[in-house]
């Protein structure tokens, strides 16, 4: 019944379009006032300016300020229009058509057309550039411009989540001329269609952007200027917020959250999220090639304690699957709890009655990785498992352990879709196949789900997949973190996004009490 599907798509578009105009449906919403400079504290250097190569939140934020994508991700995890006004998929969701806003211009004044979109995606898909987006924007086979304002994506396989996938942080639209010409210039300069224009860029100190007067939405942005201040030290950024030296903290730790909570002039921001820290098994390396061993270890975890130790209570229990209620299509399984007896039994079954010894590698950034390792170490002791924690610099970790190791700690932002996270980490063709679990049944479920539109059916498929993971435990996922942030009360129109890497500062504004106003 093609009609139905049309209707469905139509409605999504409508809904999302609305959402774009009123980002948060809430009563008593004061009308935004224009002007002022917003000072944002970010916890890492903005090392990479190139929008297709950004890797960490501060870089994502910068790119988001300067560039637009085709779609953007709402707090409800649904796609909203950005450069694309509307979109539509064919019968089997293998071909998608996007309608681009007319008369959008880049910061240098040149118009942004379908050609730029095509060029941008070709660049993203070009392996030589090795853009992180390449693995995240979906199974795109080819991109072509139908006319100046229409782009058609042909996929290698049906993919229902394409509109959301295209909102990926690296999927930014840049001028075809730059791609053809001096592509590397994007490392130090910027030319996008975003709400702000680049003023100055000092990777380790600050990034300054100013309002883009030619932004496609005449109302926004409200701010004249945004400054990103780099604070490598958490204490410092919190103190600065309290001192009123900055207006907003993009990423906050639980303890700092507690410290700021209730301070007058400050709003703490919190959102449940699919962000998690996990313990990966190299399922191809003994003893972790035995599911019983993996499950045994999972059973030693006191998840309530974990939520406490790792998140100070700002989190939710994990069930050894990467999905939780902040994802769509989610249905909870029965929660796994600590059960030492069963763990020991399983070990005995697996031929390790006296437990075993293993080295757990944790990168030193962020500190939460080590905290998980240390906590697990203590819990595993009870089942006779001796864990030696090895901490190493992140660079060394990436170079030597990541996706290769037998037993190590991972840390992930929430992905826009269940498909996103599963395809990123756990399917055989996962971009970062950390566990080498390679379970074909699991792959099949995920692939079926991504080509299914019906919510109930999809939910069911993902639930089966979850069950499979929960049973085989390629990775222990003990807890999910809420994403935390804080802002001065004088900053408005901003709320923290579950995805943690989406900010939407074009909606933010400062009221009259802000020191930088006027």
């Amino acid at each position: 019944m093609p009609f139905n599907r049309r209707a469905f798509l139509g409605s999504t578009v409508a809904a999302t379009a609305l959402a774009a105009v009123f980002p948060r449906v809430s009563l008593a919403q004061p009308t935004p006032e224009a002007g002022g400079t917003l000072r944002v504290a970010v916890d890492q250097a903005v090392s990479v300016l190139h929008p297709l190569l950004t890797r960490v939140n501060p870089e994502y934020l910068t790119a988001e300020l300067l560039y637009s994508g085709l779609t953007r991700l709402g707090r409800d995890m649904l796609a909203e229009p950005d450069l694309a006004l509307s979109w539509e998929g064919n019968e089997d969701l293998s071909v998608w058509t996007f309608n681009i806003r007319p008369d959008v211009t880049f910061h240098d004044g040149t118009p942004c057309t379908a050609d730029d979109v095509v060029a941008s995606f070709q660049a993203i898909l070009n392996p030589d550039l090795s853009s992180p987006a390449r693995n995240n924007v979906g199974p795109i086979d080819k991109v072509e411009a139908v006319d100046a304002t229409t782009v058609r994506f042909t996929l290698t396989s049906p993919y229902a989540d394409l509109p959301v996938a295209l909102a990926y942080n690296n999927a930014r639209i840049i001028p075809a001329s730059v791609i053809a010409g001096d592509f590397d210039s994007l490392r130090s300069t910027a030319n996008g269609t975003g709400p702000f224009r680049l003023v100055s860029y000092e990777p380790d100190r600050m990034v300054v952007v100013e309002k883009n007067p030619d932004y496609y939405d005449p109302a926004r942005p409200y701010l004249d200027r945004v400054e990103l201040h780099v604070f490598p030290d958490f204490g410092a950024q919190v103190s600065s917020l309290m001192a009123g030296d900055i207006d907003m903290i993009s990423t906050l730790g639980p303890n700092d959250f507690l410290r700021l909570d209730g301070q007058d002039g400050i709003d703490v921001l919190r959102s449940e999220s699919g962000q998690f820290c996990n313990v990966n098994f190299g399922t191809d390396i003994a003893p972790f090639d035995d599911p019983r061993v993996r499950r045994a270890l999972a059973l030693t975890v006191d998840r309530d304690a974990m939520v406490d130790f790792m998140t100070e209570g700002f989190g939710t229990k994990g069930n050894d699957t990467p999905l939780n209620s902040s994802y769509p299509f989610f249905k909870p399984l029965t929660q796994r709890e600590q059960n030492i007896a069963e763990a020991k039994a399983l070990l005995a079954e697996a031929g390790l009655p006296d437990g075993f010894e293993a080295e757990l590698v944790a990168s030193d950034r962020p500190a939460i990785r080590t905290q998980l390792a240390v906590a697990l170490r203590e819990m595993a002791k009870e089942a006779g498992i001796t864990i030696n924690v090895i901490t190493m610099p992140h660079a060394t970790y990436l170079d030597q352990v990541w996706t290769k190791g037998a037993f190590y700690v991972g840390f992930y932002n929430m992905q826009p879709t269940p498909d996103g996270i599963l395809k990123l980490l756990f399917t055989s063709d996962a971009a970062w196949n950390e566990t080498r679990w390679n379970n074909s049944d699991f792959d099949a479920l995920v692939n079926r789900a991504r080509s299914t539109l019906d919510t109930a059916e999809r939910t069911d498929l993902y639930t089966q997949a979850q069950a499979m993971m929960n049973d085989e435990v390629p990775s222990i996922i003990p807890a999910f973190f809420d994403v935390l942030g804080a802002k001065r009360t004088w900053m408005q129109g901003y709320d923290i996004h579950p995805r943690a890497s989406v900010f939407r500062l074009d909606h933010a504004w400062l009221d009259a009490s802000a020191p930088t106003k006027g």
């Binding site: 204490g235 303890n255 700092d256 507690l258 406490d308 905290q371 390792a373 924690v389 090895i390």
Partner: protein, 274 residues
């Protein structure tokens, strides 16, 4: 020897120094048995406890007993620092005395090179070495030892040179003694004393350097009870319960003061100045 000890204890620095360092070594040796709790036992229900009858110094973010961790950490921290200093000193002393004994162009070359290495701040040198070898206590120890060598070489050389000029050394040479005897029996006993003084004082630098490395995430790693690491871990809980940070900081400072005092005491005892 006894009269030397007497002189040492008569100087206020010497007395205080001996006292503090003595206490520290009690902790180092007996710490393991003195700990009221397991230094790594976590208690989900007893986190961030203020000092109390049960936990004299309170508990940390995992509900671990801080006093136990301090006592347990004394060994790693102090022993590490001392070891690093000793290794660094030995290396430097060999380099310096050797250079002084060789003299001439060899001496010039060695010392110029040592000067050159000294142009890299010792903290930075340590950082480089650690990031080269990977961050853990053992490597931190090595890093600090290496970072200490140039300056120790300088000092021991100047000491050795003054001794070398002494007439009893000339006498030995004129007597036709072998260089082995001259270096070991005539020079070394007179070189050691001042170097020991310098070494003692350096232990305090080592303690702090360790702490700083751990603070920068390049020294000992969790769940180690290294004091510097305890401080750096505690920083993020500072506003929740300051004592997690306070005690290890105090321990570090006290140790440093102790060795500083002891060193000065030794110096005064060895050459009583007007």
């Amino acid at each position: 020897m006894t009269d030397f000890l007497g002189r040492l204890l008569r100087t206020p620095q010497g007395f205080l120094g001996c006292l503090i360092v003595g206490l520290i070594f009690v902790a180092v040796l007996g710490g393991h048995w003195l700990t009221p709790f397991g230094p790594e036992d976590m208690q989900a229900l007893a986190r961030y406890k203020a000092p109390s009858a049960e936990h004299w110094l309170g508990t940390d973010q995992y509900g671990r007993d801080i006093l136990s961790r301090l006592l347990d950490g004394a060994r790693s921290t102090v022993v590490m620092a001392v070891a690093a200093t000793v290794i660094g000193t030995l290396g430097g002393a060999i380099l310096g005395t050797g250079s002084a004994y060789l003299g001439g162009r060899a001496d010039e070359f060695i010392m110029r090179t040592v000067d050159a290495v000294m142009a890299i701040p010792s903290l930075l040198l340590a950082l480089l070495v650690v990031s080269l070898l990977g961050s853990n206590s053992a490597n931190a120890l090595l890093a600090i030892a290496i970072a200490f060598m140039p300056s120790m070489a300088r000092i021991s050389r100047s000491v050795a040179l003054t001794v070398r000029k002494q007439e009893y050394v000339s006498a030995a040479i004129a007597r036709g003694e072998g260089s082995g005897y001259i270096v070991l029996r005539e020079m070394l006993p007179n070189v050691i004393a001042p170097i020991v003084v310098e070494m003692t004082i350096r232990v305090s630098f080592a303690v702090m350097l360790f702490a700083t490395l751990s603070f920068l995430g390049l020294g000992a790693q969790p769940p180690a009870t290294d004091w510097g690491l305890m401080v750096s871990e505690a920083r993020q809980y500072l506003h929740r319960s300051y004592w997690i940070l306070l005690w290890p900081s105090a321990a570090i400072a006290l140790t440093a003061i102790g060795f500083n005092l002891l060193g000065d005491g030794l110096r005064d005892a060895l050459n009583p100045r007007t």
